[in-house]
């Protein structure tokens, strides 16, 4: 099939960007979206033009490096699928596809479709951990953990830190990402110890980074490649209030 791509090109963080149109020829249904872009890039290179910059690494939906707004939808709109796992069989000959970077104040564009997501790391640095150092930990079976708690913690821990939730949100809120980490750790006895401190410092860091507030419209959940549940946001709000009260 042949597709028309409208791709956001921006040479660096300070430049103004614009959409540029490209033809993608000989696209086959078995290609992934990123492989389709690879082929376009090979063509551009052969013509001496600058290839389109986009992030990816694992290409199997787990590292969280790939991004892309595809026709206005983060990761392209296949439920539970990151861009690298989106395949061209979901498109048809003659389609026009708009491709843009994540857009959020806290995720400035670096080049073309590549954005800076360091704000996510900063939030984890602020408290997204259990304060244990290496060595001297008790036996793994010393504290039994109810299977349901562990399973729910695992649901939350599956977040790949891609930032689609932020990109999809009209306020560019990072609540789904932050709440996933808070719930993952807060559900486990090892993480409960620092629960209050964690939620306060992570929320503070989130606000400082310029992420917006949450209005629980759920657009984040809809695009999340790991289908992280909105319930975690509600849980985080409760944890936050409790921590504030207990601090008083």
């Amino acid at each position: 099939m042949t597709l028309t791509l409208k791709v956001w090109r921006q040479s660096n963080a300070h430049a103004t960007g614009r959409f540029v149109e490209y033809q993608a020829n000989d696209v086959i249904p078995d290609m992934s979206f990123l492989e389709m872009l690879d082929v376009v890039n090979e063509d551009l290179t052969d013509r001496g033009e600058d290839p389109i910059a986009f992030d990816s690494d694992c290409r199997e939906g787990i590292c969280g490096m790939c991004s892309l707004m595809i026709n206005g939808v983060a990761h392209g709109g296949q439920r539970g699928t990151a861009t690298c796992q989106l395949h061209m069989r979901h498109f048809k000959d003659g389609d026009t596809i708009a491709i843009e970077p994540w857009r959020a104040r806290a995720f400035p564009v670096i080049k073309d479709l590549v954005v800076d997501r360091i704000a996510f790391d900063r939030i984890i640095e602020a408290g997204g951990f259990v304060s244990v150092s290496t060595g001297g930990t008790p036996d793994g079976n010393a504290i039994p953990i109810p299977k349901d708690d562990q399973e729910l913690a695992m649901d939350a821990a599956s977040c790949i830190g891609c930032g689609a939730c932020v990109a999809a949100c009209k306020n560019a809120s990072a609540m789904l990402f932050v709440s996933a980490k808070i719930s993952h750790l807060g559900l486990l006895p090892q993480g409960k110890v620092e629960k209050n401190r964690r939620v306060l410092s992570m929320v503070k860091s989130m606000d400082e980074a310029g992420f917006g507030g949450c209005t629980v419209t759920g657009s984040c959940e809809a695009v999340c490649p790991k289908e992280i549940s909105l319930d975690f946001i509600a849980q985080m709000n409760r944890d936050y209030l409790k921590a504030l009260l207990e601090r008083e």
Partner: protein
């Protein structure tokens, strides 16, 4: 070249304890006087960086992705081994040690492997304390499953995302130290050289992948935890960015490269669908528990699988290996698949695939059971291929998966260059000629959490390392070299893309130095690689400039190193006149096609010394002495 492995004396089970006692310590107040450079933030790098910072060292950590959490360890699915014996099924450190040595086809060091088995139990405790949500039983205790090559159930797992969860544990520990100011993190930064001052590793040269700036960092020691080099084959299960650059450049500076030809192939990957293919996706081997592998008997039979009647199918694994059948070990299953495809009996587009058929299992157990066991894998298969494996057999094909070879290290994980430590998949130490499932995660974390923090202190306390800064002329020199090389790549503006060269090299390596190798093929590769490399430096087209985010340039640097490194792999494969583990030489096999080791002549670690591009490397041998275990020939008949 000094290849003293520094294995402590005494009985196997006491070596590490004894060594820990004998190692010198750095006084807590003095630790902050030492700067350590850690390249890599995967399981090995992140665990090392965090642990060293906790002890008080100043750490700088580097990765090429946009965040340390994205290192390729994140993709490991199956699990991590530990000799906890929680199942009361007779496991012990000794058994894990023995399984790993045997799995490695008796080409690993006894002392290292025993230590790994001992430390495995601490890893689980550490990870649980960090909040890693390992699978549990209803009683709240940790669950285990069994994995290839073992008769006990010792694998810990977090759904199919064990690597992700372990890495997030290490990443969070690392983030805590970044927040405390003890680790300075440099993401989107690629290491392009090691700097030696008077023969000691004292720093690195890096390129900032956003601005293109080339700069130096000095440290009292340099730790490389940069992962494996499967991408020399272009297509592998590794992430796109995985490279040999970091360790290869260290090799060019004098670090011995050990066993480069030991590579592992995984039998159950989704086959290539076309020229555009950018990577291969692994499907858990557990599928082989219920799937039956077959191809048609008749060459050129293009009927859809359902229309091929039973008598015209060849269930070749069941036929050749009646007792293990579809569960034959990775390398045997992989080679058998290649054989039938080479005979022209492969299935799917391009004929590079075999069926993995669940129809018998579905009629025996019902769709519901199969869905429960493998639902997520069937979904993944459908996402990628668009096919429904409940109705039509899956197609699978082997792919490159792991590299056992790496920089040579001694028992302290230090290379032959003083001050240069190598951890995780980047070193060669523990898996011999073949790695058992669920043991790479274990090794990376043992190296980073529990070995390096001790041995690096001993290095600092016992050897009075030099204290140079980046103003030392060696740094200037290395920077200039990196800049010149970068400029050279950008100035060629030839006719072929970097990927087209990478694909060609990968294909050549797969054909001649892949899962079956022979003298003629390797010699041919040794002729063709230098020619391809020459063309590369004349005809590659790297667009753009240095002073910007330039992904073509990043890739070009990595492929340039693969172009040299591939030759080293072929030299090693040619030299090793035996078949062992992942290294299969067609000349050396038993009558029924099994790998034939030559313990009398080949029981050594091959450590190669670099002399220059287009120059033959020198082979050094570290003999492998087996004091504890008896070498046996494996049989899966």
């Amino acid at each position: 070249m000094n290849l003293d492995a520094k294995i402590p004396s005494g009985p196997l089970e006491r070596k590490w304890d004894r060594h820990r006692l004998e190692m010198k310590l750095v006084n807590p107040a003095n630790k902050r006087k030492f700067d350590v450079i850690v390249v890599g933030s995967g399981l090995a790098g992140a665990s090392a960086a965090a642990s060293l910072a906790e002890l008080g060292y100043n750490v700088k950590c580097f990765c090429f992705q946009d965040s340390p959490r994205r290192a390729h360890s994140i993709a490991a699915q199956g699990g991590i081994n530990a000799a906890k014996n929680y199942q009361n099924d007779g496991d012990s450190a000794y058994r894990l040690f023995y399984d790993t040595i045997k799995g490695g086809d008796f080409r690993a060091r006894e002392a290292n492997v025993y230590r790994l088995a001992q430390l495995s139990v601490n890893i689980i405790d550490q990870c649980v304390a960090q909040g890693v949500p390992f699978a549990r039983e209803y009683g709240g205790l940790l669950a285990n499953r069994s994995f290839g090559g073992a008769q006990v159930s010792r694998t810990f797992y977090a759904r199919g995302q064990t690597g992700q969860q372990l890495l997030l544990g290490a990443y969070q520990a690392l983030c805590r130290q970044i927040g405390l100011g003890k680790v300075q993190m440099f993401a989107r930064t690629e290491m392009l050289d090691v700097v030696l001052v008077e023969g000691q590793a004292k720093g690195i040269v890096v390129r900032d992948l956003v601005t293109g700036q080339i700069s130096s960092h000095a440290g009292d020691a340099v730790v490389l935890a940069t992962g494996g080099y499967s991408n020399v084959f272009y297509l592998s299960t590794n992430a796109r960015g995985c490279n040999v650059t970091a360790i290869y450049r260290a090799h060019k500076k004098g670090a011995a490269f050990a066993n480069p030809c030991y590579t592992q192939i995984h039998p159950t990957c989704i086959p290539v669908s076309g020229e555009h293919q950018s990577k291969l996706t692994l499907m858990s081997e557990s599928l082989r528990n219920d799937g039956r592998v077959w191809v048609q008997k008749q060459k050129g039979d293009t009927r859809p699988p359902q229309q091929i009647p039973e008598p015209e199918r060849d269930y070749y694994l069941e036929r050749k290996y009646p007792s293990y059948g579809n569960l034959a070990p990775r390398d045997i299953a992989s080679r058998a698949a290649k054989e039938v495809c080479d005979e022209g009996r492969g299935v799917g587009r391009g004929g590079l695939g075999v069926y993995l058929d669940f129809s018998d299992a579905i009629s025996r157990l019902g769709v519901a059971t199969i869905k429960e066991r493998y639902g997520n894998l069937f979904d993944m298969y459908q996402t990628i291929t668009g096919e429904n494996a409940y109705q039509t057999p899956m197609r699978i094909y082997p792919a490159l998966h792991y590299t056992m070879g790496g920089l040579w290290v001694d028992y302290n994980l230090m290379s032959n260059l003083p001050g240069l430590f190598v951890l995780g998949e980047a070193n060669f130490s523990d898996h011999g000629a073949n790695r058992l499932g669920a043991s790479a995660l274990m090794q990376g974390l043992a190296d980073g959490y529990f070995i390096l923090p001790y041995t690096i202190g001993h290095y600092f306390a016992s050897s009075k390392p030099l204290k140079p800064s980046v103003s030392h002329p060696e740094f200037r020199k290395a920077e200039e070299e990196v800049k010149a090389r970068t400029q050279r790549m950008l100035s060629i503006r030839g006719k072929r893309t970097v990927s087209s060269f990478h694909r060609e090299l990968g294909k050549l390596m797969w054909d001649k130095c892949g899962m079956a190798r022979n003298e003629a093929g390797l010699k041919e590769a040794l002729q063709r690689i230098p020619a391809l490399r020459e063309e590369y430096w004349e005809n590659v087209n790297v667009t753009g400039e240095n002073q910007e985010l330039n992904q073509a340039l990043e890739q070009a640097g990595r492929v340039a190193d693969y172009m040299e490194f591939a030759e080293l792999m072929c030299y090693d494969a040619l030299m090793r006149r035996e078949s062992c583990g992942g290294h299969f030489r067609t000349e050396f096999q038993t009558e029924d096609g099994e790998a034939l080791r030559d313990d009398a002549h080949c029981s050594f670690v091959a450590a190669w010394e670099y002399h220059g591009v287009d120059k033959r490397p020198t082979l050094h041998k570290e003999p492998l002495a087996y004091e504890e275990v008896k070498m046996t020939q494996r049989s899966y008949k």
